[in-house]
Amino acid sequence: MASAISPETSIHHSTPGRFGVYGGRYVPETLMAALEELEQAYEAAKADPEFQAELADLLMNFAGRVTPLYFAKRLTEDLGGAKIYLKREDLLHTGAHKINNALGQGLLARRMGKKRIIAETGAGQHGVATATVCALLGMDCIVYMGEEDIRRQELNVLRMRLLGAEVRPVSSGSKTLKDAVNEALRDWVTNVRDTYYILGSALGPHPYPTMVRDFNRVIGIEIREQILQKEGRLPTAVIACVGGGSNAIGAFHAFLEDKDVRLIGVEAGGRGKGLGEHAARFDGGRPGVLQGTYSYVLQDENGQVSLTHSVSAGLDYASVGPEHAALHDCGRAEYVSADDKHVLEAVVKLARSEGILPALESAHAVAECIRIAPTMAHHDILVVNLSGRGDKDMGILARELNIKGASGL
């Protein structure tokens, strides 16, 4: 879709944190000093071997890296096409790739002398990861979460509270991730002098999209080494789900220069094509500014941000990380969507063929794998980033799939 603004009148893009025309900083002035402080602190930390060594140690000994690259033999035989590998980010401590970024930013916050941490969460995985890191580092933690997401992700709310975090319900708008981000930004604007905002995905104002991507780059770096070791060549395609897009950009980044490796991002197709029925920004959105960054946004003809729907709380977001917008426009990555129905089928398929229960978010990537693997040759290799595990979704899965528990024997 054409840009909402013509190149001649497009917003300035010589500032840092740009991915093509996307990204930038569109925030209240109050936050600018904090963003500049954060940018400088991050650049210094990145260049500091001590910081990198501590992060690497925690990733290995606390979070559980290196995660396996598992050959899904039964799924491969069943689908009868490409060889399928699963990158097992679901095996990380707290159950998703989100711990990579939360550890990185948590250490950065400590380095900056901040003791009050705020975060937003959709499915709760980023909230749990942040609460975990705050417990580990002895910091106060407040997590904003939409009421709708609190309802559908109750297990993660309980985990956060047990870890000592305060979960603040957000009742505005769609009561989902977008509204939780608004509230976290409001808190940050108010308490900017002593508060660190651990943003959970590769979006928001610069330096967040770059920083969150960097903390998740480890996913793609490991995939690259592991597949070369196992197969002696690079994969045909890497598939990852895209909400904000942190696990996807982390998985893709090590392959950007390898033009033969297809990079496939899978958005939430929800329950239909109409505005408000899905969260497929590259299918129904157009460029705009939401929550500090210029990227694709699902919006109406007047520039009002539209509501979204997905069976997975973590993909239920009206915008997408700006680096994905740039990868989309230049064609380096492909973006498709999987609807709720196929996603639920993918959960069952992976559970029964491999004994792995994926998060509903990750099941979007699995659904695309199931769709394209049979069309590919036996020598093709698909790597699916299994960004998280499905325990948190058991309530939804039981309801949607009509699985009976203790009360229904």
Binding site: I11, Y26, M32, A33, K178, V189, R193, V297, Q299, G303
Partner: protein, 274 residues
């Protein structure tokens, strides 16, 4: 036209365009745009009661710099179908009715981008608006926006925050026209008990870089606050307090209630003398 503050301190009044409080009249037939006649009546009453500048707020779905009062007003205005073009039409109407009043369009960036930056600049100029203030547009990102404003001879008004270091204040001062909006404290819009000493310090720091009038906003809700602002700044911005008053009034009562409130804002010294 240059924005003028007739008295000291000047008064800038923020209204969410399209918000008529909780009891809207029956709206116009569909397809003819939102009915902004209630906002028109309130704006006229505010001007006649002594407001120097009216900030017409464009309602937005995700007003992340605003507190609950203005967020609710935005939701009401959007529920009535208010669009940017309706706000521009209202501005043109107000300009005709009150040629001397200051008129500023106050918006988040996305509705403006969606409409088209150049198209918006032309339309705002044609409507007779004096200036534009975009909450989430910082000076570093604003090159094209500033160029468009300059092209049509409108004032880009930037916000300055207590957290802005001096080099940022200098950039803000050099790119602003009309007046500079100094935020009295860190935080979102809404009432507060006292105007922080932050505000006086900030205004003093901005003064070093500009001769433009400086208006202080965020949390100013009574005559006491306005009197405090008068000691160190050129104007006070009243937002949430008036929006809250509108929320609590019927559509018929709102213009009178707003007019009485604005007249009362300059009464501090008289009240103190009693």
């Amino acid at each position: 036209m240059a924005i003028q503050f007739q008295q000291h301190p000047g008064l800038v009044v923020y209204l969410t365009a399209g918000d008529a409080g909780l009891q809207p009249k029956t709206s116009k037939p569909q397809g003819t745009g939102a009915d902004l006649s209630a906002t028109r009546e309130i704006a006229l009453a505010a001007i006649d009661a002594g407001a120097d500048v009216i900030e017409l707020g464009v309602p937005f779905s995700d007003p992340l710099a605003d507190g609950p009062v203005i967020q609710r007003a935005s939701e009401r205005a959007l529920a009535r179908g208010t669009r940017l073009i309706d706000v521009l039409a209202l501005a043109a109407d107000l300009r005709k009715a009150r040629p001397g009043a200051g008129l500023v369009i106050f918006s988040y960036l996305n509705p403006i981008l969606s409409y088209g930056l150049a198209r918006f600049a032309d339309a705002a100029a044609a409507a007779g608006v004096d200036g534009v203030l975009l909450t989430d547009m910082i000076v570093e990102e604003a090159a094209e926006y500033i160029a468009e404003m300059k092209r049509v001879n409108l004032s880009p008004i930037f916000l300055a925050a207590p957290t802005s270091p001096d080099e940022r204040l200098q950039a803000i001062a050099s790119h602003s026209r009309g007046f500079i909006y100094a935020i009295s404290r860190t935080g979102i819009t809404g009432r507060q008990q006292n105007i922080a000493s932050d505000a006086a310090q900030l205004v003093g720091r901005i003064r070093r870089w500009t001769k433009l009038p400086i208006a202080v906003g965020f949390g100013i809700s009574n005559a006491d606050h306005v009197a405090q602002v008068a000691d160190f700044a050129d104007a006070a911005v009243i937002g949430s307090a008036i929006v809250e008053l509108i929320e609590q009034s019927t559509e018929e009562q709102a213009p009178g209630a707003v007019a009485r409130f604005i007249k009362g804002l300059r009464q501090f010294h008289a009240v103190q003398a009693l």
